[in-house]
């Protein structure tokens, strides 16, 4: 878009780039904020249905679909309170830290072929790293509130998030290994085609590890049954006990933003990203599944696919939240250290062995083997430098040379 502004409309370069960045940031902000509105309404309705109630019915017509907007206006009108003993600066800063972390992680998140804020070659790693910063806002809020409930909540959150990063990281490495790239766009492209190409159905181990990933993701975004940091039956409201009004709603937008983000990440890593279960666009001959040939309609379809998958993930989280009871802190730690981490480790080894011995899958000729993934790496890495003229050995040869 920036090139279009510069070349066709004759904008100055800096203005074109900032305008493009502004539009992208605006869109992502709307995904988070608008998404939060919809999801809060959905959460109320789902919770109500699961508990055999009706939920909001009156605001805005038949299904109460304006309820979150009404809540938003109420939050804006609320008095902004601050406890006496609070650390003023940190208390004000904390919600923004949380929200910014959640927002920044969307930079590397692809929505369709090349509809991505900034294509990073370590996209997965970046998203996980930035998402981990969200906990810092929670800790600041807990400390700055000068309230024991907040402090307890923040301590629990810190312990929980730090532990769950370990199995989460292990689960994320599996699709990276299968695709041979940490680039989220590449990972999505490798799963193009029929539903059987999704990494979820790559082999039995990836099927198991997807559910481990989902458990860890729920825990790392601090949702029930892992919402120890705001356990209202014990800690009033946990880390946001002392917050009200707009600051409180920033925490909630961050929470729903992160839920959407980890679901979107699950979609890209395991559920084929923006590729639908049936390759409609390829069958109709509109594109061959890569970014270069895809017209705008196909990209829009891709966006819709990804958003649908991410939304399904968020709805699944809500279903879990209103079905399972909250775990105790020791049970949370047990789930992480005694179940998730060993299962993830075993599945990781399993995927590795599968790639080694059954690289083509059970159906012969079905899939790209491990060797070709490695060759892909070599092609990427060894665009031969200008001075390196000479016979370059292939990777298997080099590996053999190292082994003997």
């Amino acid at each position: 878009m920036a090139e279009f502004l510069i070349n066709t409309l004759g904008f100055p370069a800096w203005l074109a780039w900032s305008a493009t960045a502004g539009v992208a940031a605006f869109l992502i902000l709307n995904v988070i904020a608008g998404g939060a509105l919809v999801f809060i309404w959905a959460e109320r309705k789902i919770a109500a249905r699961i508990q055999d109630r009706l939920g909001p019915t009156r605001t805005g017509g038949r299904f109460g679909w304006l309820q979150s907007l009404a809540d938003g206006i109420k939050l804006l009108a609320k008095e902004d309170l601050m406890p006496d003993g609070a650390d003023t600066l940190l208390f004000r800063l904390a919600p923004y830290v949380s929200f910014c972390a959640s927002f920044c992680a969307f930079i590397a998140m692809p929505f369709a072929f090349d509809v991505v804020g900034q294509r990073l070659n370590v996209g997965v790693f970046f998203v996980i790293a930035v998402l981990g910063l969200e906990v810092f806002g929670v800790i600041l809020a807990g400390y700055a509130s000068a309230s024991k409930w907040s402090l307890f909540g923040a301590m629990r959150e810190a312990a929980q998030v730090v532990s769950y990063e370990v199995p989460l990281g292990m689960c994320v490495v599996v699709p990276v290994m299968l695709a041979g790239s940490m680039d989220l766009v590449t990972i999505g492209e490798k799963q193009a085609g029929w539903i059987s190409n999704w990494y979820l159905f790559h082999d039995p181990f990836t099927f198991v590890i997807f559910w481990v990933y989902f458990t860890c993701a729920v825990a790392s975004v601090n949702r029930a049954p892992f919402d120890l940091a705001e356990a209202e039956s014990e800690l009033v409201a946990g880390f946001h006990t002392e917050y009200s009004g707009l600051r409180w709603s920033f925490f909630f937008m961050a929470e729903y933003g992160s839920m959407f983000l980890v679901s979107g990440l699950a979609a890209v890593l395991f559920l084929g990203g923006w590729n639908g279960p049936i390759p409609i666009a390829e069958l109709a001959g509109w594109s061959d599944g890569s970014a270069v040939t895809a017209p705008y309609a196909v990209r829009l379809l891709g966006c819709a696919n990804l958003l649908a998958k991410a939304t399904a993930g968020v709805l699944l989280m809500m279903w879990i939240r209103w079905t399972l009871p909250r775990l105790r802190i020791d049970q949370v730690m047990t789930t992480c250290l005694k179940y998730c981490t060993p299962i993830a480790a075993v599945m990781f080894a399993g995927v590795m062995l599968w790639q080694l011995f059954l690289p083509g899958g059970l159906v012969p000729g079905g899939r790209q083997g491990a060797i070709s993934v490695r060759e892909g790496w070599l092609e990427q890495a060894a665009e031969p430098p200008a001075e390196a003229v000479g016979v370059r050995r292939s990777v298997p040869q080099q590996l053999a040379g190292v082994a003997d």
Binding site: L15, D87, N121, I139, V162, L399
Partner: protein, 240 residues
Amino acid sequence: MDLTTNCLLALHLATLPMALIDWHAAFFLLFALVACGAAVMVVLTDNVVRMALHLVLSLGATAGLFFLAGAEFVGSMQLMIYVGGTLVLLVFGVMLTAQTKLVTLQTPPGDRVLAGILAAALLAVLVQSAVSIEPWRQPGRAVTQPPTATPLGMALVGVRVDRQPVEVESRPRSGYLLPFEIVSVHLLVVLVGAAYLARAKRRRTPRPIDVVASADPPPPVRQPRREEREAASVLVGGGQ
């Protein structure tokens, strides 16, 4: 000349100063200033939690510098390990102490002088080594191809794609696998040691048969010490 062209021309003229700015350098300055300023604030503040916050700012700005240089892997690593991991643990530890007299730290003047000398020496060494690198003195060499982390990953499994084949022939075992393994075993030892030191030292209750055999009263089960109980109650949220 129609209206659109005129408007665009006016736009270009009005924003000429903006177009003249080297944005890369501007952002470098911005991040560098934030990093240095926050680092100075870490030293000047005496509230422990504020110090941690400033440290996060400083390290985050350093990660920004890495991203600006196109080293996304190092930048993410910086965020993950320093900002995300270490500082969460740091703040975690700080919060356990920050409620009492440790909330403000008073540094003795002698320590300040010593730290100043150390820091100045380190700075001198760093500046000297940075200036002595020849290619860094030539200005304005743009990176033609965005670097990727792939050579690093390949080198980790022993394939040096960044070297000439001849070099690889002469030194075949030049991958990073062995150093990596040594470092990871080291870290594992440290972790096991830490877990051993931090474990709850609980004496086992003797079996009834032993008690009968020795005909002594069973030794009393040790009550957990006060700090242990407090540490546990902080996580569980009760007992205050």
